[in-house]
Structure formats: structure tokens, C-alpha cells
Amino acid sequence: MKLTLKIWRQGGKYKGEFVNYELPDVNPDMSFLEMLDVLNEQLISRREDPVSFEHDCREGICGTCSMVIDGRPHGPMKGTTTCQVHMRHYNDGETIVIEPFRAMAFPVVKDLVVDRSAFDRIIQSGGYVSVNTGQAQDANAIPIEKTIASEAFDAATCIGCGACVAACPNASAMLFTSAKVSHLALLPQGQVERKRRVLNMIAQMDKEGFGQCSNVKACEAECPKEISVSNIARLNREYISASLTADVK
């Protein structure tokens, strides 16, 4: 099928603009990123600058791929990363608009590549259990109710891609932050640092320039791992409770 790609170019000779590219022969079994590979091969053969985009595992788990496709982070399909979108979902003659994730806290590196290291700094501010190597007791010494473990797991499946931020009109990182806070707050291992963790992570989130949550829930709709906004509710409870009761600020 024949497609037109309208792609945001930024960096090098481009100050920041959409550029149109025609792809005359797209195979419906291709993945979205394989289609961009084909485009880049064509650009390189014409000695033009290929489109920079991030990708790695192409299995939907590493969280490296990003981009906003026709206005939606990771494209049109629910619970799916860009790398798992296949061209059989598009029609001959369509125009597809491709942009980077846009947020103040995610500056553009080049074209569709953005800097998401703010997420790493949020985790560094408290998204862990302080247990040195060798300090652990026997694994079965900590029984955890299956439903609780499963709920923690649902939160822990976050791949740190940043789609929640890109989807949010406020560019808020609440879904990302709440997923980590929930994962650890639900588990017995996370109890000791529970209050300190949520206070520090929220402080870091604000410092990075992410916006506030205004309950739009676009984050949940676009999250490729379908992380629930109930985690944000939990984050709010955890935050209020910690603010009122924590000894450590």
C-alpha cells in the first residue's frame, strides 16, 4: 500500500518542522518501525539525513520506542507500544502524522528522540528498597498474599516509556510515579521507607518540571501496559498520609 508520512524533523538542518515523505510500497505485515527502517534506507540511498527515532527490543518491553502517531502516543492500538503496531491496521493512501513525545521535562534530542532521563532521577529519589547485596533473608520468609502480589505486579509492569506524560495535557508524570510508589507500597518489603519514598519522589517529579494531575485519565488510556489510574489515587493517599505523619521530610 501507498502511504504518506508527515514527520517532525528537528536538529541538524531542521529548526523544527513537519516534512512529508511518500512510501509507495508498504507491506501490511511490516511493523511500524520496520516501515520507518524502509524509509530511512530510502533516505540514505538519496544521501539524505535519516529520521532519528528510538527503538531497541521491538517486543514491547524495553520502553525505548516512543513517538506520537496521529496524535496518540504509541499509535492507535490499546495496550500496545509503537514497535508492536503493524501496518495491517492502516489503509492504502493514508497520511500518518508522526511527532516526538512532547513535554517540557522531555527535551527533544533529535527528530523523534527525546531525553527521558527525568524518569531515572525520579526513581533515584526513592523508587527502591534499601537492601544491600547479601542482606536478604530467605525468600519464603516473606509470604505475600497472592492478590496483593498480583496488584503490585500490575503496577510494576510499567516500562518507563513516558507515554503517560506525552498523553497528558499537563505533561504530568503522575501515572509513572504512582506505579512505582504503588508497587513498593503494596509489598511488605517496601513498608520501612514508604513515607519517605512518596515524599521524595513527588518532590523530584515537581522539580523536573512535570505538570500536575487534573484527572483527565489520558495516561491510562494510552499506557501500553495499561497501568491503572487507581495507582494515582493510591499515590495521593500515600502522599497525604505521609505528609501528615512522616517524621522525615
Partner: protein
């Protein structure tokens, strides 16, 4: 024993009983005191399971650690894609498991081509890994009583695999990443993301640092350290199509090899039996379906070639050949990976493959769904089934999956001794980047185990043996002529790529290399094919350096340049793999030479002549690498023919 080890390959296996070696070693290894640790710098390259766990653990100990990753974040490393699980000899199932059995299964699974001492240590520390990960908050699967669940995996008769849905690698990596993040926040570890190591620097024979390229602006940076640890993964992408992530590469290990580190057993490649088959020329990578599926899925092809084009549900039971259950009744569908892969290739070679390319076999869940119910199967494999459906448009609940083997893991890697140090003093290799624990074939759920064993529980002890002699060295200057020369050689290499100013893209060379490797150094290898492959790769290499085209410049964000540097190294590695495969006149594990097979098509090992580690020394471009042998001596396990019948 006819084989003698080269005198320059000292594996440093401690003396004493197998089960006492590691304990004795830990009790006698020299220590570095806390006030001295502060004065010692360690560079870790790579932030996957091995790298992140090593960096976190060494940071906790008080060393100054620098971590380098080419990713935007340390959480992206390819360890994250491991699905199935992690082995540990916990014996929580009361099914007769023990450290010895895990050790034995790993040695046997590796087709008697791994070092006993290393493998026993791996089995010993496996139990601590699970403890550590649970303490970090890794959400392993649990039973209703709240305790940990296990499942079985290929090549074993016990259930010792801990898992976290189909995302075990992700959860373990995030655990290690969180431990690493904590050390970064405490200031013991400094993170260099979007930095790629392009050379190691040696001074008077010792490793003293690296040259890294800042991928955002192309600047070459010098970083010094008292020890450098490469945790840079495997080289399966030499085949172009593999289950590895797109950016996995051999460059760090290969650059170390060119500086004198021996590369061991490069030909040992694991072809994973359960991957989604190739669908077209545009294909950029292959997707693995976890081996855990073989717990409940049954592999079959039609008995008759004439049925191969039919819909699988229209082929009656009596016309199906459940070839693994037929050939290997004791292990059935749970035979190790190399055996399952080869069996799939054999039935396809016989013309009984299925799907449009006829290069696929069925993996059928109908019986399991009938036996355990739809809900139980969905709970076990739901996300894998969804992934399969997204890619192929077919629902495995309604018709069998189509699968075919694909390159997945490389057992070969940098030669290391018991302390995980390469033959260059001060240069270490951990995880998939080294060669040490899996012999000629790795068992499922053992890669995660080895990566974390090396990083959490082995290296933090063994590195002290070397660093205890470094406490008087002081800070290492990067202004030395050696750093100067290493930086210049990286710069020259990049300039040489641009100077070609040719017509062909990097990708096109990579694809051609991959085809040569898959056709001639893949699942079945012959002396004739390998000889041809070597000539073809040499020609490809010349063509690459004279006709490659690189867009952009070296001093900007430029993924094509990154790729070009990696492909250049893959081409050289590809040749060494073929030479290693050609010299090894036997079949063992992931290395199958068609000339060496038994009458019923099983691998025909030659212990008398080949029970050694082949460690290759770089002799210069266009020079043949020199072979060094490390004899493998089995003190405990009785070497026998590997049988899963």
C-alpha cells in the same frame, strides 16, 4: 588426557573438593579495607542484569563506580526481554532438587564443555539471588499460601524456575536498576547514559580505562579506572535476524579482544526453538516465544508432506507426528534448546514444515486447554498469546502456534578465569559477555541466573583479589600516551568509515553478513560451507570499508555511525566464529557440524580431541587468530554421552 592447556591460560580454579572451592576461596581471598575502597575506581560497561547488579553491589561496598550505557536509561538493557524465568536450587518443591543437581544439569546441558568449578559456584549462589531479588521487591509468582511458585524448564526433571508472569527479565532488571539507582542517589555510582565504549586502554599490560563516545555530541571521552568490567551482553546480532534487541552488539568485547583479550568458543550459538517464524525480507528482528510454553504446548508436524498445506485443525490426531515425544520419551517437549531446535530443522528439511514458508512447526495447546481449562492456560501464558496474536494475527487458543528456531543467545564470549578476569589484568567480563558457565549450550532460565550471580555474588568478592594490589596506585591520569593513542585509534577508525564515502548503507552490509552466518554458521555447519563463509566474509569486509556510506557527521547525535562501528566489528567476529566452527571437528551443544552426527542424527561429540575451551588471540587485521587451549578436566561429573531419550 591428550589435551594440554596453554601455559598462559590459568583458570585459577581453587583446589579442594568441588563443594568447598567457593567457600575456601571466599575465606582466603585478599580484602580491600573500607578506607582503601574509597580510593579505587571501577568502570562498569553495560547496565543489564550483570552490569546493574555489579555496579550496585560494588557501590554498596564503597568503591567509586562509573557505569556506562549506550541506552538513554540503564533500565533498557536487553535483559529486560527475558520472559521465562530464573533457576535456583531452592528445592521449595520438595522434588529432589539440590545445588549438585543444578550443577549437574548445567554441565550436562552444556554438553560437557563448561568448567566445573565455575558452574558449581553458580549453582551455589543461585539461592541467594532469589532471596536478594525478593528483598528488593521483585514480584515473583506466588501461590495462595503467599509463598513462591515454581515451574519446570527444558533440560531438567525438577521445578526450580522462579518466574514473574512472562516478564521475569523485566522484573529482575528493574530490581537491579532500582538498586543501582539507589547507589547513584548516594553518590557511590556515577551514571554515563548515552555513552558507548569504543576501546579499552591498557598501560604496561594492565587495563586502566576506556574510551567512550558521548552519543549526544560525538565527543570522545577518556575515563580511567583501576579495573574495568565489561557486562556488555552477547553477539547474536551478528546473524542480523535474532531475538536480541536491535542495539545489542559485540563492540565492547571485540575492542577488548583487539587489545589482547582472548575470545573463547565464539562458535557456540544458541538457537532458540520457539520463535515466531520470519515473514518477509523487510524483517528487522525475530520475536521469541518463551520456552515455558513447552511445559504445556506439544510440538508437531504432519506425518505426511501432503498435509502440510492444510489448516492444522483439519489434520486428525493419527496424522500428526509429535516428533519430540516420539524421539525423546523421557523429556518429551522439554528437551534442551539445541535438541529441540535441531529436531525442528530436521522435520522441516524432510519437507514436513508448515506455514507459507514451510519453515515452521506447530506448538499446540489444545490438549493443555482441555486438561487444565482455558482460564489456567490464559493465566500462565496470556501475555505471550497476546503478543503472538499481535504479530501474526492468529489466536493460539484456537489454533496451534507456528514456531521456528532463531538465534537467541551466545555461549561464547571473552575468556575469563575463575575470578571473571580476562587474560588482561584488571579487565573483567560478566554475564553473557563472558564464556564461562554454559559450555556449548545454555539451559533455559539460566541466563538471568548467571548475570545476577556474576554481578551480585561473584565479582564483588573476586575483584578484591586484584584490587587489593592496587591500593597504592592512586588516581590514574588520562593524559598518558596510552590514552592518547587509544583515543586516536578510535578517531581514526571513525574517519576511515567516513572516508569510504561509498554507496551502500550500513544496514545492507549487516543483512548480508547475517545471511552468510545463518546459512553457513547457523543450525547446521559443514567444513565446506564454513570455508566458503570465511572467504565471503573477507570479501564483504573489504567491500564494507571501501563502499559504505554514512550520513551526517561524527560530532553529532548519529545512530547510523553507531551502527556502522558495530557492524564493522560484527564482520570481524563473524569470521572468527566461522574459523572456530571450522576447527572444532565435532558436534556439541549449539555447535552442530553435519559431518559429525550419529546414525539417528544426534550430535557426535569428540571428547578425546575437543574437550577444551578454544580461546582465540587477535593477531592483527587480515591475520589468522591464534588458538590457545584450556583443557577441561571433570573431577566430579562423569562425562558421558548426553541423552534425553
Amino acid at each position: 588426557m591428550a589435551i594440554n592447556s596453554d601455559s598462559n591460560l590459568n583458570s585459577k580454579i581453587p583446589a579442594g573438593d568441588m563443594s568447598e572451592k567457593w567457600t575456601n576461596y571466599k575465606g582466603s581471598v585478599p580484602l580491600v579495607s573500607p578506607n582503601n575502597k574509597r580510593r579505587i575506581d571501577i568502570i562498569i560497561v553495560g547496565s543489564g542484569l550483570a552490569g546493574a547488579s555489579a555496579a550496585a553491589s560494588l557501590g554498596e561496598l564503597g568503591y567509586n563506580v562509573k557505569v556506562f550505557t549506550f541506552h538513554d536509561s540503564p533500565r533498557r538493557a536487553h535483559s529486560i526481554a527475558a520472559q521465562g524465568g530464573i533457576n535456583a536450587a531452592k528445592n521449595y518443591r520438595n522434588d529432589g532438587d539440590s545445588v549438585y543437581r543444578l550443577f549437574y544439569d548445567t554441565i550436562k546441558g552444556g554438553d560437557y564443555r563448561a568448567r566445573e568449578g565455575n558452574v558449581h559456584r553458580l549453582a551455589e549462589v543461585s539461592t541467594s539471588i532469589i532471596d536478594q531479588c525478593v528483598a528488593q521487591g521483585v514480584p515473583f509468582a506466588r501461590e495462595y499460601g503467599g509463598l513462591l511458585d515454581n515451574r519446570s524448564f527444558g533440560g531438567t526433571q525438577v521445578s526450580r524456575t522462579f518466574y514473574a508472569r512472562g516478564q521475569t527479565g523485566q522484573q529482575l532488571l528493574i530490581g537491579a536498576y532500582q538498586a543501582l539507582s539507589r547507589q547513584i542517589s548516594l553518590g557511590t555510582v556515577k551514571l554515563y547514559n548515552r555513552h558507548e565504549m569504543l576501546d579499552v586502554v591498557t598501560v604496561d599490560g594492565q587495563c586502566r580505562g576506556i574510551i567512550a563516545r558521548n552519543l549526544l555530541n560525538g565527543e570522545l571521552e577518556r575515563h580511567s579506572a583501576h579495573a574495568v568490567v565489561l557486562c556488555t551482553g552477547g553477539y547474536g546480532n551478528v546473524f542480523y535476524l535474532s531475538t536480541n534487541a536491535m542495539m545489542c552488539n559485540v563492540t565492547a568485547a571485540w575492542r577488548a579482544h583487539r587489545r589482547g583479550a582472548y575470545f573463547a568458543n565464539p562458535c557456540y550459538t544458541q538457537i532458540h526453538p520457539t520463535c515466531i517464524p520470519v515473514s518477509g525480507e523487510y524483517q528487522s528482528k525475530l520475536t521469541l516465544m518463551s520456552e515455558s510454553l513447552r511445559n504445556d504446548g506439544r510440538c508437531w508436524v504432519p506425518k505426511n508432506e501432503a498435509d502440510c498445506g492444510k489448516h492444522p485443525n483439519d489434520i486428525p490426531e493419527q496424522d500428526r507426528d509429535y516428533y519430540l515425544e516420539r524421539r525423546y520419551p523421557a523429556f518429551g517437549n522439554l528437551v534442551p534448546r539445541d535438541i529441540a531446535s535441531r529436531a525442528a530443522k530436521q522435520v522441516c528439511d524432510e519437507g514436513r514444515g508448515v506455514g507459507s514458508t514451510r519453515l515452521a512447526v506447530y506448538l499446540d495447546f489444545a490438549d493443555a486447554i482441555k486438561r487444565d481449562g482455558q482460564a489456567a492456560i490464559s493465566a500462565r501464558y496470556g501475555n505471550l498469546f497476546e503478543m503472538y496474536e499481535k504479530i501474526t494475527g492468529e489466536d493460539p487458543n484456537k489454533q496451534p502456534m507456528r514456531i521456528y528456531p532463531a538465534v537467541h543467545y551466545t555461549m561464547g564470549g571473552l575468556w575469563v578465569d575463575y575470578e571473571l578476569m580476562t587474560n588482561i589484568p584488571g579487565l573483567y567480563a560478566c554475564g553473557e559477555a563472558n564464556f564461562s558457565d554454559h559450555g556449548a549450550n545454555r539451559l533455559g532460565a539460566s541466563a538471568l541466573m548467571q548475570g545476577l550471580a556474576d554481578g551480585y555474588f561473584v565479582l564483588p568478592y573476586t575483584i578484591g583479589s586484584y584490587l587489593s594490589k592496587e591500593i597504592r596506585t592512586g588516581a590514574i591520569s588520562t593524559d598518558s600516551p596510552e590514552f592518547e593513542a587509544a583515543e586516536k585509534s578510535v578517531r581514526d577508525n571513525i574517519q576511515r568509515l567516513y572516508a569510504a564515502n561509498g554507496k551502500q548503507s550500513v544496514e545492507s552490509f549487516h543483512r548480508r553478513l547475517g545471511k552468510i552466518m545463518w546459512d553457513k554458521c547457523g543450525m547446521g555447519r559443514t567444513a565446506e560451507g564454513l570455508t566458503q563463509a570465511i572467504a565471503e566474509i573477507q570479501a564483504l569486509r573489504e567491500e564494507f570499508w571501501s563502499d559504505v556510506f554514512l550520513p551526517g557527521t561524527a560530532d553529532e547525535f548519529n545512530p547510523e555511525l553507531e551502527k556502522a562501528l558495530r557492524v564493522a566489528d560484527f564482520i570481524e567476529l563473524g569470521q572468527l566464529m566461522c574459523e572456530d566452527a571450522l576447527h572444532r571437528n565435532e558436534s556439541c551443544g549449539g555447535h552442530f557440524r553435519e559431518e559429525y552426527q550419529t546414525e539417528d542424527g544426534e550430535a557426535d561429540r569428540d571428547d578425546e580431541n575437543f574437550m577444551y575451551v578454544a580461546a582465540w588471540e587477535w593477531k592483527g587485521e587480515n591475520q589468522k587468530a591464534e588458538l590457545h587451549k584450556e583443557a577441561l578436566n571433570y573431577e566430579v561429573v562423569k562425562v558421558q554421552k548426553r541423552s534425553y531419550k
